[in-house]
């Protein structure tokens, strides 16, 4: 009993989704007992325990109930049935900067924000130097927070939350804070906290982060625990599943397709790219890949007027919009060809060493000396994941000798 930090037992939770909620007296009276709502059961009976000092990751697609689970753990919400026992002080990195007041200085906001975590003035006094130095905002700490950039704001907020010294730390989609330097610092701090024996629960889409920190992954699917175990194994299982069953959901939705109207597509239109699909090493269609994996893209196109001396091109951009790689058939000296009828082309990217991020892809058909036929910006999205902690844009194969 004493070495468990969290016990979740048979927890269910459903939400009422009102068709048309009348919160006013008039509406309540007029539609008395006729409030139409649908009950949506988000959690259908979840049980797990977390030992002290253990770090677990909750994974699953959007709407599977993982964020709800986290909210129940923080006690923002309460379960309909079942019990949750938490042993120790809980801090959450769910909503950073809760209660920040733009007109107050960074220092005053530290006090307000930390007090929301339940710290007393004395406790804050003893931590304030750590918090300020962690945030690297020494020079600005007495300026009003409204003068901060959003990056500085998040840094301050994160510094408070991570210095609460909780027994149990709950984290939702973090480490998108600040620049790469600060991110790796946060990550290092998290590992340090874990080493001190803090129990950690992380909800994340970034399997790479989970694999680096967590001892165990819990995969929640449709309100139930589908698999549980060593992150690397569960994550693989999850990815396979995602690749098989959920590609429709994870692909660029048609609303986000590049069109002439949204300015992300141009060219004379003699040939048009109709569809992009990507495959992993096992020839399975998917768009989440591991760093180092081989990716095959199939470009389907239709031709309305033959294109002489055609060129296919690809561009890869990371989340920050930095081009990570780009090439085309001309650069690669593919012998001249023309497009006469609709068909498909392929490009195999071997051993892709791009580091974890979401990548967007441009695909283009050009002709002659680069006359755009159909240029599509951000026509495809894919994610890279990895379980090593190296940082940057792309891995460089390397060897240490010490």
């Amino acid at each position: 009993m004493n070495d468990t930090a969290i016990i979740v037992k048979d927890v269910t939770k459903s939400f009422k989704v009102y068709m048309d909620k009348g919160a006013q007296l008039k509406e309540r009276l007029l539609s008395f007992r006729r409030n139409r709502y649908e009950k949506r059961q988000v959690l259908k009976g979840i049980s797990f325990t977390v030992k002290k000092g253990e770090a677990i990751g909750l994974i699953g697609r959007n709407g599977c109930g993982k964020s709800t689970t986290l909210k129940l753990l923080t006690r923002i919400m309460y379960p309909d049935s079942g019990t949750i026992t938490m042993n120790g002080r809980v801090s959450s990195l769910i909503e950073l900067g809760a209660g920040f007041h733009p007109d107050m200085s960074g220092r005053e906001n530290i006090y307000t924000n930390a007090s929301i975590f339940g710290l007393t003035k004395k406790e804050i006094d003893s931590r304030i130097d750590d918090i300020i130095s962690f945030s690297e905002l020494e020079k600005f700490i007495d300026d009003p927070v409204r003068t901060y950039s959003s990056g500085m704001y998040m840094r301050l907020a994160f510094s408070v939350a991570i210095n609460v010294d909780a027994d149990i730390l709950l984290i939702d989609e973090i480490l998108a804070v600040g620049d790469a330097n600060f991110q790796s610092k946060c990550f290092a701090r998290l590992k340090e906290i874990k080493a001190q024996g803090t129990t950690i629960v992380i909800v994340s889409h970034s399997l790479g982060q989970i694999e680096q920190i967590c001892d165990r992954s819990i995969w929640i699917y449709d309100g139930l625990i589908k698999a549980e175990g060593v992150p690397k194994e569960v994550d693989l299982e999850y990815l396979d599943f995602m690749g098989r069953e959920m590609q429709e959901n994870t692909q660029v939705s048609s609303a986000d397709m590049p069109t002439e109207e949204n300015g992300r597509r141009w060219g004379n239109g003699h040939a048009r790219i109709t569809k992009i699909t990507s495959y992993g090493e096992d020839d399975r269609e998917k768009n989440v890949f591991r760093t180092g994996e081989t990716i095959r893209f199939v470009i389907e196109y239709s031709v309305s007027k033959p294109v002489e001396d055609a060129i296919f091109g690809i561009g890869i951009f990371n989340r920050e919009g930095i081009q990570c790689y780009g090439t085309n058939t001309r650069i690669d000296r593919v012998s001249e060809f023309s497009l006469d009828t609709s068909g498909r082309a392929e490009i195999v990217l071997e051993n892709v060493l791009l580091l974890p991020s979401e990548y967007s892809f441009d695909f283009a058909i050009e002709s002659g000396e680069g006359i755009p036929v159909d240029y599509c910006r951000q026509i495809y999205k894919a994610e890279m994941i990895s379980n090593t902690g190296d940082t940057g844009i792309s891995r460089i194969n390397h060897k240490w000798s010490v």
Partner: protein, 258 residues
């Protein structure tokens, strides 16, 4: 019991919210914090003009008679009307982070309370200027009266703020209720003119007792009537416990309803 322990652990949060509220309240207005004093003073002027020159009363130093009752009343009524909206107003915080939800109405009522204390500076100034004088022994009971009123206001604020989350009209209904309640409490008139058969209702109204205690001490310069004080305390404690229980029950679904 657990709730109290937890609230004690979050005392710093209550303190910060009160400070934030007091500092933020008149932010950007030219007179700033002075509004704390101007507002009740202007109300006093209006009522005094109406009751001394138009509806002539025969109460001596009517402005003082009214003022010592009006300031505590403003504290009470703003606690329940604006306090009712306090939880809804902090929905961003409630939906995103855990803390004992009672912190919000408590800090709101506390900041209204601090405001009342500041207004008491004006009351004492008015008493001094008018030459009415003080009964220092009786003044010692003032903190007790204030504490009882605080408990009562807090109980009501807990009740109204929790119910408002589920039923938003309450906020508007309460402004009417508070107006009716004000006239049902002997603030502008004396308890002695209340018809005998209505007295039971007035006696059930905890504010009747509290206002009469304030008046005993500050206007009549007497010790407060013990029976009034005990009744007020009993009613105050009752409302606090009742409000606390209702709040605790309702707060479980706050995050979903907001």
């Amino acid at each position: 019991m657990n709730t109290i322990k937890e609230l004690y652990a979050y005392r710093q949060m209550i303190f910060s919210l009160v400070r934030k509220d007091l500092r933020g309240r008149y932010k950007g207005s030219a007179l700033g914090f002075l509004w704390t004093f101007i507002n009740p003073l202007l109300q006093l002027v209006v009522y005094t003009v109406v009751f001394s020159f138009i509806l002539k009363t025969n109460i001596e130093r009517y402005y003082l008679y009214l003022f010592v009752a009006l300031i505590p009343w403003i504290f009470f009524s703003s606690s329940i009307t604006v306090g009712a909206a306090s939880v809804v107003a902090q929905k961003d915080l409630i939906k995103k982070i855990y803390f004992p939800r009672m912190v919000i109405p408590i800090s709101y009522v506390t900041s209204c309370f601090v405001n009342m204390l500041l207004c008491f500076i004006v009351i004492f100034a008015v008493i001094l200027v008018s030459g009415a004088g003080f009964n220092f022994a009786a003044l010692l009971t003032l903190p007790v009266i204030m504490a009882v009123e605080y408990l009562l206001a807090l109980g009501m604020a807990l009740l109204t703020s929790a119910v408002t989350v589920y039923f938003r009209d309450l906020e508007h209904i309460l402004s009417i209720i508070s107006m009716v309640w004000m006239y049902m409490t002997p603030i502008m008139y004396d308890k002695s003119i209340v018809p005998e058969r209505l007295m039971p209702i007035f006696n059930l109204n905890p504010m009747t007792h509290i206002i009469s205690c304030y008046r005993d001490v500050l206007y009549y310069k007497n010790m407060p009537d013990l029976l009034s004080l005990v009744s007020a305390t009993a009613l105050g404690v009752f409302f606090l416990i009742f409000g606390g229980i209702v709040f605790n029950k309702l707060q479980r679904r706050f995050a979903e309803e907001l």
